[in-house]
Symmetry: C2
Subunit: 491 residues, 2 copies
């Protein structure tokens, strides 16, 4: 089914291509005199999506060039240092059903270990703090039951969405006409339960419940399979950490790609016509047969396209802002909270941070806590000196874990909204009325341009696993497009 649809897109695209000669002239007009380079396929962006697409094409015998704007690979996966230890200041966990990422880890001979969760976690909802182990967060039975009821309703609603086209669900228009906040408020009067789902939206999907389309929220859950696989630890997206970090996986893929990756090469324009594509970057001009754009949608429209993108694709990118997350690491002499049989896990509905985890490394040493300044909180604190955020974070940790939290030996954070080649994290999201109007253009090829990036994935959208899936799909589309062209030439 999927392949047939892809062929159809290809044929439609070829018709469009006939008019696109202006691009070549425009590029020439820029007066570039640099050496012209050539690859079968150019990939824009060396995050997981772009690197996996390039790797699969290379394995299929194509020459590729991966043009990356930054001076590093990995995209929203990034290495940082806290208390002398190498940690992930971007994507970090892997879950048991994230089979593509697990496969990659295995393929490159890397390994995982379980996220620490022995002991009590702290839950703070509607001004009340509780403690509990694993599934039991110590909430009162009434709140627990209400939470369970709403979770089941969310799972039921999300299970009705077609994974490849949530906008085509029978009730899509209705679900896309309200915010997550509207749904929450209409479905429970329990302030703790309301706070729970608001905090989930912020720390798991990086935007505020009052902004996010309820249809998008349901799709996000569906993309993770169900609520528990998104939210939980064991059996869920936060189950395992990776020895040597997620950035180690990125480095392994990058190593296979070798000098196919060109760093410090922000792409400025992509021009296509019936003869091919020209990609202009700060590191030179490439000609190629196909392009895979593997950057988040809001960044994808900062490239100039000739001919221009179809209105729907451009407008979707205009209406799919990046989420807002600042990821922090706080280091202590030792993981003192474990003395009190806490597991370091905090879930709170009080901004600016809804989630903290024990991030201590298996080799021991410093006790590490890792967490997220989320949504509006991240927008308030982005661009400020790191020291300002440290004060706020440490003060929250003292409030939760006691006076011993007051004296960290180190603090590190990554201010994703301020990074020009991310402008946010974890992923792009939609407000009401976007998916059902322009959503379907999200992975429709435009002539010789194919789209990757976790936002274009059906499964694990927003996660590294989704990025890998999107890269595999885009590579498969291009390989199929080559076969269509070959068939055309032979006919």
């Amino acid at each position: 089914m999927k392949e047939n649809r892809s062929v159809l897109n290809r044929r439609e695209a070829l018709k469009v291509l006939g008019t696109g000669t202006a691009g070549m002239l425009a590029t020439e007009g820029c007066g570039l005199r640099q050496e012209k380079k050539r690859a079968d396929v150019v990939v824009v962006g060396a995050g997981f999506a772009g690197m996996i697409a390039a790797r699969n094409l290379k394995r299929a015998g194509k020459t590729v060039a991966v043009l990356e704007a930054r001076d590093r690979v990995g995209g929203r996966v990034k290495a940082g240092t806290v208390a002398g230890k190498s940690v992930d200041v971007g994507g970090m966990w892997v879950g048991p059903t994230q089979t593509k990422l697990l496969g990659l880890i295995q393929e490159y001979g890397l390994s995982t270990y379980p996220q620490f969760e022995a002991g009590n976690s702290i839950t703070e909802l509607a001004g009340k703090r509780t403690q509990g182990k694993e599934e039991d967060s110590g909430l009162d039975p009434k709140t627990e039951a209400d939470l369970e009821r709403l979770t089941q309703e969310l799972d039921q609603l999300s299970s009705e969405l077609p994974l490849d086209s949530p906008w085509s669900a029978p009730r899509a228009a209705e679900l896309d006409s309200i915010t997550v906040e509207e749904w929450i408020v209409a479905h429970t009067t329990n302030e703790a339960v309301r706070g729970f789902f608001r905090a989930v939206t912020r720390t798991y999907i990086s935007a505020d419940a009052k902004q996010m389309s309820f249809l998008f929220f349901l799709f996000y859950i569906r993309s993770c399979d169900k609520f528990e696989t998104m939210f939980g630890m064991k059996d869920a997206a936060q189950a395992f950490r990776i020895s040597n970090g997620m950035h180690g996986v990125a480095a392994s893929v990058a190593k296979e790609l070798g000098d196919s990756i060109v760093l410090k090469a922000p792409v400025k324009s992509i021009s296509q016509d019936e003869t091919g594509v020209r990609v202009l970057s700060d590191a030179g001009v490439w000609s190629c047969d196909f392009v895979i754009v593997a950057v988040p949608l809001p960044l994808s429209v900062r490239i100039a396209y000739d001919p221009p993108l179809p209105a729907h694709r451009d407008i979707l990118a205009q209406r799919m802002p990046m989420g807002s997350i600042i990821k922090f690491w706080v280091a202590y002499e030792r993981p003192f909270w474990r003395n009190y049989t806490w597991n370091g896990l905090v879930f709170s509905d009080v901004p600016p941070s809804a989630g903290v985890y024990d991030g201590t490394l298996p080799e021991g040493g410093a006790g590490l806590l890792v967490g997220f300044i989320d949504a509006d909180g991240a927008l308030r604190l982005t661009g400020l000196p790191r020291e300002d955020r440290k004060k706020i974070v440490v003060s929250r940790l003292v409030d939760w874990l006691g006076a011993e939290a007051a004296n960290p030996i180190d603090y590190e954070d990554n201010d994703w909204p301020s990074e020009p080649y991310s402008r946010g994290c974890y992923e792009a999201w939609t407000f009401p009325g976007v998916l059902t109007t322009v959503g379907k253009s999200i992975r429709e090829p435009v002539g010789r341009i194919h789209w990757a990036g976790t936002e274009t994935s059906e499964k694990w959208m927003g996660y590294v696993d989704g990025a890998i899936r999107s890269g595999e799909r885009a590579a498969a589309e291009v390989i199929e497009a080559y076969s269509v062209f070959t068939a055309k030439q032979n006919s």
Copy 2:
């Protein structure tokens, strides 16, 4: 007060500039060998905002270059032709309190005439059609009273907003946490009244009530002074038309600017450091002291900035999508509706078009109707063949005005969402949680970069009058910045 703030911004900005030398290198790295050009100030965009800014700077003795991406001036003001007549397919009306635009019309020796409204207009709300003259739309008294009550409440709420900073209003967070739809539904159960405000949001502010921040909606009203000056005809924004069209006014300003305007010159990058600014466009490289970027926010971030824009300004642009409007003109042998004492005015809550007006020219001849395919309707119909939209529009006109509407002699429309250098119309708007987080960066200068465009105006935001005001403000900022620099050099 305002001037003091501006000076402060300037001083802060100068501190930032110290680190920005990389931009020059990046521009060189692009390998441009074209003639370097020089102007005191470069203005990006030859809409009203950019042209007025440039004109005022020129009058103050500065040299200017206005770099315009398209092959025409006017931006969202544009000439079209229907039944052989020259009409506006973009901005078109002027109201009695739009004093800046009226002043411009007078200054260039142009004139206005009243929008035709003699006769009955048609109102269609909640499945019921009524007729009435001027203020009286023939609605039942209960609906009329409810409408009046809500309008007064909107005026009251909006009057409490500081025009220069709606995000600082005491209740801003609360008002910015809900959509217009949520407010409507919470404040009336009358479906006709609900339909009225939904249609107002669509046809006057070019987005759906279910998406738009209620705070933004209130600010928009406040920016027009009050609801009636936005919505009405006489004494309101749609009071007068301009002899020879709004595009004639744009042409007059362009004439004064002469060859300071460079067409087909899309700007690709803006690099600044302590010595000045370099602006790279398809038509060459300009060096200058200051830049005024006078394009809508979503387009402003398609330019590459070095150093990068502060996170808040970039994220605001990412979260302020363009509205969606397709403006149509339908021509008939004669204005047949006037025979039936109709005035051609239709206001309807049925998508895809909430508003139609008599657009017949004063010289007589063909009867013209002019209207808007709005919001979701425009997103559905953008990019399709014009003939498809014509069928839908004509069918609606037949439904409203009878069988005589079935045979137009001409149809013309302008598909704004598909235009690459607009990507929408009338203006950029915000969903909940945007104004109160990143809104205040909307006109904060960034080093040597100043911002214009109707979205940055306090008064008549979204209108040509607001564009003019923003251009005047930006020019004044730059003139002041020159005096600060001069004072620095002399001290």
